[in-house]
């Protein structure tokens, strides 16, 4: 069985001389939920642009389910559904036509196109809005419309470029549920996101791209296991007069009744409580300060390739 995606030595240099991709190699297995992370300007959107034929590559090759995007273009394109970062549908068309027309571009007969459009719009809670002008939809609805449109050709590979940007938590969670269902049904998903909680929650494998180069490509579990240090927020029973000096852990005062503690993954957390107890400090509750993946991501991007020891 051919992998869903094979990228080899992919390069892109724009006309102005900016090099967005510097020889990226990547493989995504069929059925995977794959996260592509990176800071702004890292090359994520360029990479997705090349996969979806909206950006011309400078060098390298892309194969989608065994179809070379350069030589077997139509077959490769037929496997893909794209949810871009920015709204790119006709704001003066109703959702039903946007979705049905997209099906038509894939050679799906008009009657079947409308049947599928109805199915997708119902699934994404847009059926009631099928005849309104798309420009009148809310931001969350517009995002869901783009997902419905991307699914109408029933793609084997769904690419989502920051699909939940700007949507509220409730809609985001419902979109996560929906994407998990699609993935469980067999669709391979590639997701780029700035919400690292989203990547941690959804993706089985993650690649991190920075300055046009892949600096990490592994499973989410393995990536999180490499995190050496975590910061916890501790809520105290009574106000703290002075921050105690503890040799084993680094503490930081947040306010009178809150402190932060850095805890090494290899150390026992009991040591911290023993020390705090010795100083007469009682802890009421404790929580993670940041998303673990976010911490890891920042370390990787700030420290560069292969510097995981510094994490």
């Amino acid at each position: 069985m051919a992998p869903a995606l094979i990228i080899q030595d992919l390069e892109k240099t724009y006309k102005g001389g900016v090099t967005a991709l510097k020889g990226v190699n990547l493989e995504v297995a069929e059925g995977d939920f794959f996260g592509l992370l990176g800071p702004n300007g890292a090359g994520k959107t360029t990479l997705i642009g090349i996969l979806s034929s909206l950006v011309n590559k400078s060098a390298g090759s892309v194969s989608i389910f065994g179809h070379d995007l350069g030589s077997d273009t139509a077959a490769a394109k037929a496997c893909i559904g794209l949810v871009p970062q920015e709204f790119n549908f006709n704001m003066f068309e109703p959702p039903i036509e946007i979705v049905a027309n997209q099906a038509g571009y894939y050679g799906i007969e008009r009657g079947e196109a409308f049947r599928r459009a109805e199915e997708k719009l119902r699934k994404l809670d847009l059926w009631d809005k099928r005849q309104v002008m798309s420009r009148t939809l809310s931001g969350g609805m517009k995002r869901r419309l783009m997902i419905a449109r991307a699914l109408v050709n029933e793609p084997k590979l769904l690419i989502l470029d920051e699909p939940t940007a700007g949507v509220d938590i409730e809609i985001r969670r419902s979109m996560w549920k929906f994407l998990r269902e699609i993935n469980d049904a067999g669709t391979t998903i590639i997701l780029t996101t700035h919400y690292l909680e989203e990547a941690e929650s959804l993706c089985r494998n993650i690649a991190i791209i920075d300055k046009g180069e892949l600096i990490e490509n592994t499973s989410t579990r393995q990536l999180l296991n490499s995190l050496k240090m975590e910061t916890f927020v501790l809520d105290l029973e009574s106000p703290l007069a002075e921050l105690p000096q503890i040799k084993t852990h680094k503490l930081k005062r947040v306010d009178d009744q809150t402190i932060e503690a850095d805890i090494c993954r290899d150390d026992s957390i009991n040591t911290l409580f023993t020390e705090l107890n010795a100083h007469g400090i009682k802890v009421l509750s404790m929580r993670n300060k940041t998303n673990r993946l976010e911490e890891l991501f920042m370390n990787l991007v700030e420290n560069g390739n292969g510097n995981r020891a510094a994490i």
Partner: protein, 257 residues
């Protein structure tokens, strides 16, 4: 994609294009009908009788084919340039670019939309002309073939303009400064035989002259230009513009980075 799937994709693009201009018919179909009706009233009814006959026909009868042709030219062009540029501006051209639909189908789809609007307006203007003068058809075949060739040609020109356009100003520059002067000087309101020799020769460089005259032949059976020359020039322009449009789409000029 097999042939059947390509035809379905083409039908989808054409349907989308026709719905686009139909939905906003008050902006797309009605204005040219009103403008042409004013031409009929002012030039045909009020000024025409004072001008007298033109090549043996009343002035109103003489200008009707040219005015229909003018409406078809401007609307075919305007439809494709605004639709294509609009799809670039709103980025929904990407819907087609990511799909497996080949470039030539996209091109034919847009051109068909332009032809559909050009012919819709042409038919509407012809109906309005019946208020002023009964329809005189000398050769239906010449009339239909020339109007369709002209609509195709100017739809292609509109698409090329749309590909190069980077702003809304860019889609009005060519119609305002090139298309309108060429149309007005293309023998709509006069026969080039009325012009001095130098201006007659210069007029022959205007491709619209050939189309207007061939179309008028379809109505009245008269033309300043040989019919074969008109067909040859129209077809040559269509082939050249089609090849160039296809080249631009393949290259992704203005639509792929």
């Amino acid at each position: 994609m097999n042939t059947s799937e390509k035809l379905i994709a083409l039908k989808a693009i054409i349907t989308k294009e026709i719905l686009r201009f139909s939905r906003i018919w008050i902006q797309t179909v009605l204005p040219p009908v009103i403008t042409t009706a004013l031409y009929f009233i002012i030039f045909g009814n009020l000024i025409g009788p004072r001008i007298g006959e033109m090549d043996g026909f009343g002035y109103m009868e003489f200008i009707i084919p040219g005015l229909i042709m003018m409406a078809v030219i401007t609307n075919s062009y305007a439809n494709v340039v605004s639709s294509f540029y609009g799809s670039k501006f709103q980025r929904h051209i990407e819907e087609m670019l990511i799909s497996p639909v080949p470039n030539y189908i996209i091109l034919i789809g847009y051109i068909s939309g332009g032809v559909a609007r050009g012919l819709t307006v042409g038919v509407a203007v012809t109906i309005v002309s019946l208020v002023f003068h009964p329809l005189n058809i000398h050769s239906l075949w010449v009339m239909l073939s020339m109007i369709i060739l002209t609509a195709i040609l100017f739809s292609l020109a509109g698409l090329i303009n749309g590909v190069y356009a980077k702003s809304f100003d860019d889609i009005s520059i060519i119609p305002t400064f090139v298309l309108t002067p060429l149309t007005y000087l293309g023998g709509i309101f006069y026969s080039i035989n009325m012009l001095p020799e130098f201006w007659q020769q210069l007029s022959l460089a205007n491709p619209i002259l050939y189309m207007v005259n061939a179309f008028r032949y379809g109505f009245l059976g008269i033309s300043d230009i040989s019919l074969m020359t008109s067909y040859a020039i129209s077809i040559a322009f269509i082939i050249a513009l089609y090849m160039y449009s296809l080249y631009l789409l393949r290259k992704g000029h203005g639509i792929r980075t």
